[in-house]
Amino acid sequence: MNQRRLWDLLPRLTPVLAVLFALLVGAVMLALLGTNPWAAYRALFVGAFGSTNAIADTIVKATPLLFVGLGICIAFRGGVLNIGGEGQLVTGAIAATAVALAVPTWPGWLIIVLSLFAGTLAGGIWGGIAGFLKAHLNVNEILSTIMLNYIAVFGMNYLLRGSMMDPLQIKLGSFTPQTARLPRAADLPRLIPTRLHLGAAIAVLLAAAVYVLLWRTTIGFRIRTVGQNLRAAVAAGINTKRYMMLSLVLAGAFAGLGGAVEVLGLHHRMFTDGSAFGFTGSAGFNGIVAALFGQLHPIGTIPAAFLLGALLTGANKMQRVMQVPSALIGALSGLIVLLVVGSEIFRRRQMRRADKRNSELEDAVDAKENS
C-alpha cells in the first residue's frame, strides 16, 4: 500500500524532479566546459540565500514572476496561451511611470494607487488586443502576444529615447534612455531594511484572490470550463468569446500590475537597454515557467516563483564570481518547461489508472452487495 502511495505522489513531485534534473544537466554542461559545477552551484546558492540581503533580493526577483505567473494561471486555465508577459510588463511599467511623473506633488499614497491602477489598466489593454484578435478573428494568441511583445518594446524605446527621457540626461548630454527618478513619495514602502518592498506582499495577497476567483466564483468556473472543454462550454451556453477575451485581459492586467510594481518598488524609474530583457529581466517568460512549475495553481505559483527567483538571483552571483554566464539558468528554465510539460503524459496515465481502479472497486462492491 505504501509503495502505491509513493507512486501516486510522483506527479506532484514532477516540478521538483524537473528542477533537479535540469540542474544535473547544467552541471554536466559546466563540467564539459571546464568549470567546477559544485563551485558554480555553491555561488548560485549563496547568491540566492547567503544573507538577509540575498534572500530579500530573491523575493524581489520573484515578485514580478508571481504577478505574471498569476495571470498565466488564469489564462492557461482559460485555454489561452498568453506569451505576452514581456510586453504587458513593459506597457504597465510605462503607464505607471507616466502617471507618477505627471503628478509628482500629490500625496504619496495617491500617486501609488493611481500608478498601479494605470499599470494594471495598460497591461489589461495590451492583453485585450490579443484577446480580441483571438476571440473575434481566430488569430493564434501565442503568435499575436509574441508580436505585441516586440511592438511594446520598440514603443518603450521610442518613448524613453524621446518624450519620456530624463531632462537631466538631456542637460548632461549623456542621453541614457531612461526617465527621471520617480517622486520619492511614490516609492513602495520597504518591508524590512533591504530592497524588499511591499510589492511582494501585494502579490501574495493577489494569489489568494486568484484562487478565490478561479474556484469560488461563477466567472472563474466559466473561465476554467472554456479552457478545459470548449464544446461543453458552448453547449452550456457560455459566451466563449467573452471569456477568452477576459482571460487575456486579466493575464495582461496582472503582468501590467507587476511591471508597475517593479517601477514603484525597485527601480524607481523606467529604463531600457534596447531590448525587453533589459528592464524585465525576462520576467515575462520566467513567469510562465513559474506558473507551469506551480501546476497552474495560484497558491502553488508562490513557492514556484520563489524558487525561480532564487535561481535567477543566484545566477547573477554565479556570473559575477565564476564568470559563468547567467544565460545557463535561462536555458535550464526552458529545459524545466520541457520536462514539466513533457511529463503530463505520466500524470494523465496516473489519473486514468486511478479512475480504472475506482470503477473496479465499485464493481466489486456492487457484486458483493448483489450476491
Binding site: 481566430n138 524605446n157 554566464p325 513533457g342 503530463e344
Partner: protein, 307 residues
C-alpha cells in the same frame, strides 16, 4: 529614389528572405504533418552559434553549415520526442525549446567566444551569364550559395509534399491521423521525420545569418525572426508558394525599413522596427477566413484509440 537604390533594396530583399525561407519551409513540413513547433527561433539561434563557432575554429564554412544542420536536427528530434512520444502541449513545448535554445546559445557564446567578432562568410557567387543581365542580374543572381539553395528549396519542398508518396503520408497525417493510422501509416514515424527535418532547416536558417548574411554572432541574434517564420506558414496558407510570397514580402519590408533608417527619414527608427511585427499581426488577422486550409490535426495530440 534612384534606380540604383531600388535595385539595392530589391537585392537586399532577396538576400534577407533566406533565413525566413529555410525556417518557414521547414516549419511548413512539420505543420503539414500536424505538429506546431514554436521553438524555431531557439533552434535558429543554436544553428547560428554552432555554425559561427565551428567556422571560426576550423576555418571551414561548410563544416559550420553541416554542424548547424546537425544541431538543428537534434533540437528537432527533441521537439518530436516531446510532442509525438510524450504527447505534450505543442505550443508550450515550443516556448520551452525556444528558451532552452536562446539560453544555451547565449551561454555557449559567453563561454567560448565571448567577444562579438566577424567572420568571412560565404562569398557572393555570381551565376555566370545570368548575373550579367542588367538590373535583373544584380537583383537575383549575385548572391551567396545559401541564398540560391533557399530559393531552390521551395520547388523541391513543393514537389516532395505534393508529388511523392512521403508527401502524401505527411499530408494525410496532418489532416486525419486516425484514418492514416488505420491504413497502416506510422503516424509517429512520419511526424518524427518532418519535425526533425524542420529543425534541421531552422538550424541552417540560423547558419545563413551567422556565416552568410550577417557574418557575426551575438546573443539573441535572431530577435524573434523564428516566430515570424512560424507566422509565415499561416500567412502562406500552408502552401510553400504562399510561404515564398510571405517571406519575400517580409524581407522587402525589412530592406525598405533598413534603407529608410540609413536615409535618416523623419519616421523614428523605432516605429520602422515595429513594422514587421505589426504587419505580421495584420496578416494573421486577415488570414482568419483562410484558416480552412490549416491541417485539421494541427496542434492536436494523436493517441491511438482516443477520439
Amino acid at each position: 529614389m534612384t534606380w540604383a537604390m531600388m535595385v539595392g533594396i530589391l537585392s537586399s530583399g532577396i538576400r534577407l528572405a533566406t533565413p525566413y525561407l529555410y525556417a518557414s519551409v521547414g516549419e511548413t513540413i512539420g505543420q503539414m504533418s500536424g505538429v506546431l513547433n514554436l521553438g524555431v527561433d531557439g533552434v535558429m539561434l543554436m544553428g547560428a552559434y554552432v555554425a559561427f563557432f565551428v567556422a571560426l575554429r576550423t576555418g571551414s564554412l561548410s563544416l559550420g553549415l553541416i554542424a548547424a544542420a546537425g544541431i538543428g536536427a537534434v533540437f528537432g528530434l527533441i521537439m518530436a520526442f516531446i510532442s509525438v512520444t510524450l504527447k505534450a502541449e505543442q505550443g508550450i513545448s515550443g516556448i520551452g525549446l525556444y528558451l532552452f535554445g536562446l539560453g544555451l546559445s547565449t551561454f555557449l557564446f559567453g563561454v567560448t567566444i565571448r567577444n562579438v567578432q566577424t567572420i568571412d562568410g560565404f562569398p557572393d557567387l555570381a551565376i555566370p551569364g545570368l548575373s550579367r543581365i542588367p538590373v535583373i542580374g544584380e537583383i537575383f543572381f549575385q548572391h551567396n550559395i545559401l541564398v540560391y539553395v533557399a530559393f531552390a528549396l521551395v520547388p523541391i519542398a513543393w514537389f516532395v509534399l505534393n508529388k511523392t508518396p512521403f508527401g502524401l503520408k505527411v499530408r494525410a497525417v496532418g489532416q486525419n491521423p486516425e484514418a492514416a493510422d488505420s491504413l497502416g501509416v506510422n503516424v509517429g514515424r512520419v511526424r518524427y521525420l518532418t519535425v526533425t527535418l524542420g529543425g534541421m532547416f531552422s538550424g541552417i536558417a540560423g547558419a545563413s545569418l551567422s556565416i552568410a548574411l550577417l557574418n557575426t554572432f551575438q546573443q539573441n541574434l535572431t530577435n524573434g525572426m523564428g516566430f515570424i517564420a512560424v507566422a509565415l506558414v499561416y500567412f502562406g496558407g500552408w502552401r510553400v508558394s504562399g510561404v515564398l510570397l510571405g517571406a519575400l514580402l517580409f524581407s522587402t519590408v525589412n530592406a525598405i525599413q533598413l534603407w529608410l533608417q540609413v536615409k535618416g527619414v523623419s519616421i523614428p527608427s523605432d516605429f520602422l522596427l515595429m513594422m514587421p511585427y505589426i504587419v505580421t499581426i495584420i496578416v494573421l488577422a486577415a488570414m482568419a477566413k483562410r484558416r480552412v486550409n490549416a491541417p485539421a490535426a494541427l496542434n492536436k495530440r494523436f493517441e491511438r484509440g482516443e477520439s
